[in-house]
């Protein structure tokens, strides 16, 4: 194995006024040809800054203070801008996280790949090479695809184009910065396999940045774990995954949803919510031209029993959120019955709905968007009960109790949302919903926007509260491991319909529908069972 890349005691300074002095501190790592190194860490740990330093793409406000970067035997940090440019794309290439914005919207994708060849003096090959490259990343009909603009391609297709572009000049080093984070699980698995396969074929070195230990288990040869700009632990993948040493690594791995179904209470069939024949279609298109009709929800009947948690699982666009929003009338379906304790909620007026607002509540996905930034936390929690006629004093008492329940300090009442972290805000959102003392709680991806360690805390809290208050819950998630951990039964959705519904163990153990099997196959690192670790944090 030849040593491809060495980073030695690298320190990158943050601009003054940041929350810490260095983005990256005293960081050393190395990468051999033919190897995949996963750099793992939570948001803000400095993993992207490390990648950008290697590529010579640091923003002007960040400066390398000390350290060296050696690539193919040459020191990179002293190189002129032009010397760095001539290596970028040719010897080292990069793939980014967000495929929807990473391509120039005004250029045909073929031209964008050709440009990579042209700027390194290989423009003559472009006509032949572009379709070849598109075929190499398993894109159908490369010749006509090359003539398309990016907006015609799906996220997965765009990410393939990005990879084709990165591979155009057969670089020795590929840096992939969370390349699958924005993709659905099945697409993610395809891209992971593609990267693995191409890497093996070309003998490239790959530096793969991710926050997901499942992805690490799927793809890594070696792993480096980052926290607050430092590498806290690095070593072969098997070692780190199964016998982590550093407390932080242990904490992260312990927080990975283990996918084991928790012990389930016995559910007696006492229907709280029955969805029957609910349909929602969206129409796109203006006054001229054909209208596109999207059937967002159809064939999605289910029954939710008292005290039960039902998981709605599916990829983006599967209609799971739309279905959940139908229950609380944020979306109004055209057809069907929404029976809450036998009463159809669908035909009710806004006024007629009011009594049910107390009994059905919702927790939202984005902790940064789900709280009104101009309203104090106390007001956010009390305004619901007050709207429904509870006295201000009683609502306040209730809010204080709830803050305790979600493990926040009572002083939070007088503060504004921006003073809290994502996980804390999610708990405030939970308190706001619980203040109405609902019996049915709808949780729409409540942990997807959180870092993995925070995710675990919020999930534990949810499980605890559900037990304590005897809540019935509809839990929407795209993450199968999370679903397995918290749900009694699982409903799998695809293109607006529920294709499989059953007890969690049965859906995971003996999936009946082909799509369910595909989903389960796509769980990254499905062969890896996170080790049982004693809580060390």
């Amino acid at each position: 194995m030849t040593r491809l890349l060495t980073v030695d005691s690298l320190t990158v300074a943050l601009p003054q006024g940041a929350d810490r002095p260095h983005a990256v501190e005293d960081l050393s790592l190395h990468l051999d040809a033919g190897e995949i190194l996963c750099v793992v860490g939570e948001s803000g740990s400095g993993k992207s800054i490390t990648a950008n330093t290697v590529m010579g793409l640091l923003p002007k406000t960040l400066k390398v203070k000390t350290g060296t970067v050696t690539f193919e035997g040459e020191p990179m940090l002293g190189l002129s801008a032009e010397a760095l440019r001539s290596r970028r794309g040719r010897r080292m290439a990069m793939v980014f996280q967000e495929p929807m914005t990473a391509l120039n919207p005004l250029m045909r994708v073929g031209d964008q790949i050709a440009e990579a060849l042209q700027v390194h003096g290989k423009g003559g090959d472009a006509r032949a090479r572009v379709p070849e490259l598109l075929a190499a990343v398993n894109l159908p009909d490369p010749a006509s695809l090359a003539k398309m603009h990016p907006f015609r391609l799906s996220g997965g297709q765009r990410q393939r184009v990005m990879i084709a572009m990165a591979l155009a000049l057969e670089p020795a080093l590929l840096i992939a910065d969370e390349p699958t984070t924005a993709l659905d699980v099945t697409t993610q698995m395809q891209i992971l396999r593609l990267i693995r396969e191409i890497q093996a074929r070309k003998g490239m070195g790959v530096m793969f940045i991710t926050h997901d230990f499942g992805v690490v288990a799927e793809i890594a040869d070696r792993v480096a774990v980052m926290q607050h700009g430092r590498i806290v632990e690095q070593g072969p993948a098997a070692e780190i995954l199964n016998a982590p040493q550093h407390p932080y690594t242990r904490k992260l791995i312990a927080a990975v949803p283990h996918g084991d179904a928790a012990e389930k209470a016995e559910i007696r069939p006492a229907p709280v919510l029955v969805m029957k024949g609910v349909e929602k279609t969206y129409q796109r298109g203006g006054w001229f031209g054909a209208k596109a009709v999207v059937r967002a929800v159809h064939n999605a009947d289910f029954t939710l029993n008292k005290g039960e948690t039902l998981g709605l699982v599916g990829e983006s666009g599967s209609g799971k959120s739309t279905l959940a929003r139908c229950v609380v009338r944020l979306v109004e379906p055209e057809k069907g019955e929404i029976l809450f304790h036998g009463k159809d909620l669908r035909p009710l007026s806004r006024q007629g709905w009011l009594p049910y607002r107390k009994r059905i509540q919702m927790v939202f996905q984005d902790p940064y968007a789900s709280l009104n930034p101009r309203r104090k936390v106390g007001d956010a929690i009390t305004e619901g009960p007050i709207t429904h006629g509870v006295s201000a004093a009683e609502a306040r008492e209730r809010a204080l109790d709830l803050l305790r329940l979600v493990k926040l300090d009572p002083s939070a009442m007088e503060r504004y949302p921006h003073e809290f972290s994502g996980g804390q805000r999610q708990r405030i959102g939970l308190a706001r919903a619980l203040a109405m003392q609902p019996e049915l709680l709808i949780a729409d991806e409540p942990v997807s926007a959180l870092d993995v360690s925070v995710q675990a805390q919020v999930l534990d809290l949810l499980a605890e509260i559900r037990q304590r208050l005897g809540l019935t819950m509809l839990f929407i998630t795209h993450d199968l491991r999370v679903a397995a951990q918290i749900c009694d039964r699982i409903a799998v959705m695809q293109r607006g319909a529920i294709v499989e519904l059953g007890p969690t163990a049965q859906v995971f153990g003996a999936p009946q529908h082909a799509y369910t099997r595909a989903l389960l196959d796509s769980i990254p690192g499905r062969d890896w069972t996170p080790p049982a670790l004693a809580e060390t944090a």
Binding site: T61, M362, L371, E383
Partner: protein, 281 residues
Amino acid sequence: MKDFWRNFSRNRGAVVGLVVLLAVLILAVLAPVLYPGSPWDMAGMPFAPPGEDGMLLGTDSLGRDVAAGIAHGARVSLLVGAVSTVAALAIGVSLGAIAGYLGGIADDLVMRFTEFFQTIPSFVLAILLVAIFTPSIASIVFAIAVVSWPPVARVVRAEFLSLRSREFVQASEVLGKSRLSIVIGDILPNALSPIVVLSSLMVASAILLESALSFLGLGDPNMMSWGFLIGSGRSVIRMAWWMSVFPGVAIFLTVLSLNLVGEGLSDALNPRLARNRGGKP
């Protein structure tokens, strides 16, 4: 509030703008004290250059004091600027709110209507309106309001549209709050900062518009205004440059300071944007 002032005063131009604006405001308030009597009355000999005949900024062809005209003109400019902006805001905010919150057909209709008004050459329409309804403060304010609401409607609609689908608004829906309390309590406060910034720029352009109208002779015949002063100096610019220069400087300073204040407000209300302006990622 403390944060607001700190962010605002970090923009030095904005502070200068605020000071100039206050000065103009004081001038407008004190005009009857500084220059008692009508600015239309003869105060000295005709065409006195600045400094002569006791006239700080000279006199015009009828011997009227230019400085007095500017002081009294400040009242008209600020009044027209403020009132027509309030009127345009009233139209724009309500139309934009309806379009953005209700969506669907209401949105379509309002937006077509707004686009139509943006297509019409606004200054020509303003001239036409004032000419037809005979020049007066009321018709001028009306004309300026009619031509300047469309940008407000667009901004408010865009804000409402994006806020309406934000999760905290959906949370309020699920809590069972009424539509009115959602619009007033949740959406409007979060849409306020672009409206505030926009309105300071609108006052500036209303002042420019008023001065252009009175330059063309469409000012209120009973009110002294800056545009009128420049208009009356136009034909005699070869012999009395001061008649057009000083009122122009007054307009320039007022409009400039309003723009500076607008930038400062924008920085103070969107601190994240302001910091990004330096090129930080």
